[in-house]
């Protein structure tokens, strides 16, 4: 764990963890605030005493939409569901909701995070996480 503690609290590092199938957030050791996306200064108290914590990746769906007109990058997936999920550990994340028919998606449903490998190619070389029914 000592090695992890030395890693910068950056968006790039967040996605490096996603590549390893983990959702990691920055936790302020002074005021306990959990920051997702991570920042290297606490949003609440400006402390720089932070540690990486792994989030469980389970949560409830707060709201969603069904994207019919998609950007070119995602056209092959349309129509697809995107939602905002409140994780059990507190913070929210936005991601695609898969493994459930769009018409069966409901606010409040229990979801769990899953991961897909990076696409490669042009910047940014980030992998994606998504949510599926728990």
């Amino acid at each position: 764990m000592e090695a992890v503690e030395k890693l910068a609290f950056t968006i790039e590092q967040f996605y490096a963890f996603v590549k390893g199938r983990r959702i990691m957030a920055a936790k302020c050791t002074k005021c306990e605030a959990i920051m997702l996306p991570p920042r290297f200064v606490c949003k609440a108290c400006r402390s720089t005493n932070l540690k990486w914590v792994e989030l469980e990746g389970r949560g409830k769906l707060l709201t969603y939409t069904i994207i019919n007109v998609a950007p070119s990058r995602f056209q092959r997936l349309a129509p697809y569901v995107v939602g905002i999920v409140q994780l059990k550990d507190g913070p929210n994340l936005l991601g695609m909701i898969r493994g459930v028919k769009p018409e069966e998606v409901r606010i409040g449903m229990d979801l769990i995070v899953d991961f897909e490998p990076p696409e490669g190619g042009a910047w940014p070389a980030w992998p994606r996480y998504y949510f599926k029914p728990a």
Binding site: I11, Y15, P37, L62, T63, Y64, T65, I66, I67, N68, V69, A70, P71, S72, R73, F74, L77, P79, Y80, V82, G83, I84, N92, L93, L94, G95, M96, P102, I107, P124, W126, R128, Y130
Partner: protein, 390 residues
């Protein structure tokens, strides 16, 4: 100090909105400037105007950056200093705000405020991609949410929390298209029925095509001066008596709630406070209806009704042209069009016409106090201004 004008609008101009083939942004801007000069023969642009603040969101459309001095040149303002403002769809709302601050500081006697966007020569896919830049890249765009998608997330939350319906959202489109049909400068000058709006294709459920504003070309321009100098330029000045601006997180997902815009509520609070007025004093408003749900949320954020009652306001015709509180008499972004950088100033233009009795077939009689509400992106920027007839 409360209610004392911060600045006065001596003149205003607006280009025709819509698809303006064969014209560059700077040419559209000149069209708006010309109208402002025609309305105000006493202004000598080169001699009187001391600075230009101009809203312009995207350099991608025309492969053109550094638009401040370019537009100052075409407007005939050289060597006046020029500032281009980018705040997504609130670019010229913020430019107007800077113009107000410049005048209120006492350092400037006369400034020009403008806004422009030329969008329709690009493909819809390109325009949509440029617009998406106003949302968070690493945590929103990267995960497949589109701009309509972000407002759709708010719509779903609003429907779930308050029982707002797709019909109520569609009624915003019906109302604004009706108003647009009376505005010769509107992009769409055609009425739509509730059935047509509801049957239009889904863009990002629950939002359909008629819930979304179009991609448009257009420009607007205002000439601001000190209240005590206003009569030198015009017999009918419009005073800006209240002004507010606020920011929020760029990511919608980070916010505490999705059924209101915190920045808009804060900007409204500041505007009412500086004006010494309350929501019930407002007689007419232009609000940021980039999507129909945004107009419903605007009613609530501005205090025209309680949270959750916005849908009912449009359903009962209260915000219709002949209602007790007309909203978006110009047709709004929905029908007048939304050349993003021009919208904030275009809203002020409509309020000026209404307060000075020049709004033609859509004129609302006896209005003295108006309000504009301009939102950038998905709510990370909001500007609210309150106007009084001079």
């Amino acid at each position: 100090m409360k209610g004392k004008p911060l600045a006065s609008i001596a003149s205003a101009g607006l280009s025709k909105f819509g698809r303006r083939d064969g014209l560059y942004a700077r040419e559209l801007f000149l069209e708006a400037v010309n109208e402002a000069v025609e309305r105000c023969p006493n202004v000598d642009l080169r001699k009187d105007v001391q600075a230009l603040f101009v809203g312009h969101m995207g350099e991608s459309y025309e492969h053109q950056g550094h638009t401040g001095p370019t537009l100052a040149d075409w407007a005939g303002l050289l060597p006046a200093p020029a500032v281009r403002v980018e705040a997504a769809c609130a670019s010229s709302g913020v430019a107007l705000r800077l113009g107000i601050l410049a005048i209120a500081s006492g350092l400037f006697n006369v400034v020009m405020v403008g806004g422009v966007e030329k969008m329709t020569h690009r493909t819809t896919a390109e325009a949509v991609e440029f617009l998406a830049m106003a949302s968070d890249f690493p945590f929103e765009q990267w995960h497949g949410v589109t701009f309509p998608g972000l407002f759709a997330l708010m719509a779903t939350a609003h429907m779930n929390k308050y029982g707002t319906t797709e019909e109520q959202m569609a009624l915003v489109a019906v109302k604004n298209h009706r108003n647009g049909s009376l505005n010769p400068k509107a992009h769409f000058q055609r009425e739509v029925t509730l059935e047509e709006a509801l049957a239009s294709r889904v863009v990002a459920w629950p939002l359909k095509l008629y819930d979304c504003c179009p991609i448009s070309d257009g420009a607007g321009c205002l000439i601001l001066t000190k209240p005590e100098l206003a009569k030198r330029f015009t017999d009918e000045p419009v005073h800006i008596v209240g002004s507010g601006q606020a920011s929020d997180s760029i990511g919608v997902y980070e916010r505490e709630e999705f059924t209101s815009l915190a920045a808009a509520k804060e900007a409204a609070r500041q505007a009412y406070e500086t004006a010494g007025l309350s929501p019930k004093d407002v007689q007419i408003a232009e609000v940021h209806d980039c999507f129909t749900i945004a107009e419903i949320i605007a009613y609530e954020d501005l205090g025209f009704c309680k949270p959750g009652e916005g849908g009912r306001l449009v359903e009962e015709g209260i915000t219709a042209l002949n209602g007790s509180m007309p909203v978006n008499t110009s047709g709004g972004l929905k029908a007048k069009g939304h050349p993003v950088g021009a919208t904030g100033v275009a809203q002020a233009y409509e309020i000026c016409l209404q307060l000075t009795g020049q709004a033609g077939r859509r004129q609302v009689e006896g209005v003295n106090v108006g309000l504009t509400h301009n939102v950038g992106g998905s709510g990370a920027t909001a500007v609210v201004n309150i106007y009084k007839r001079g």
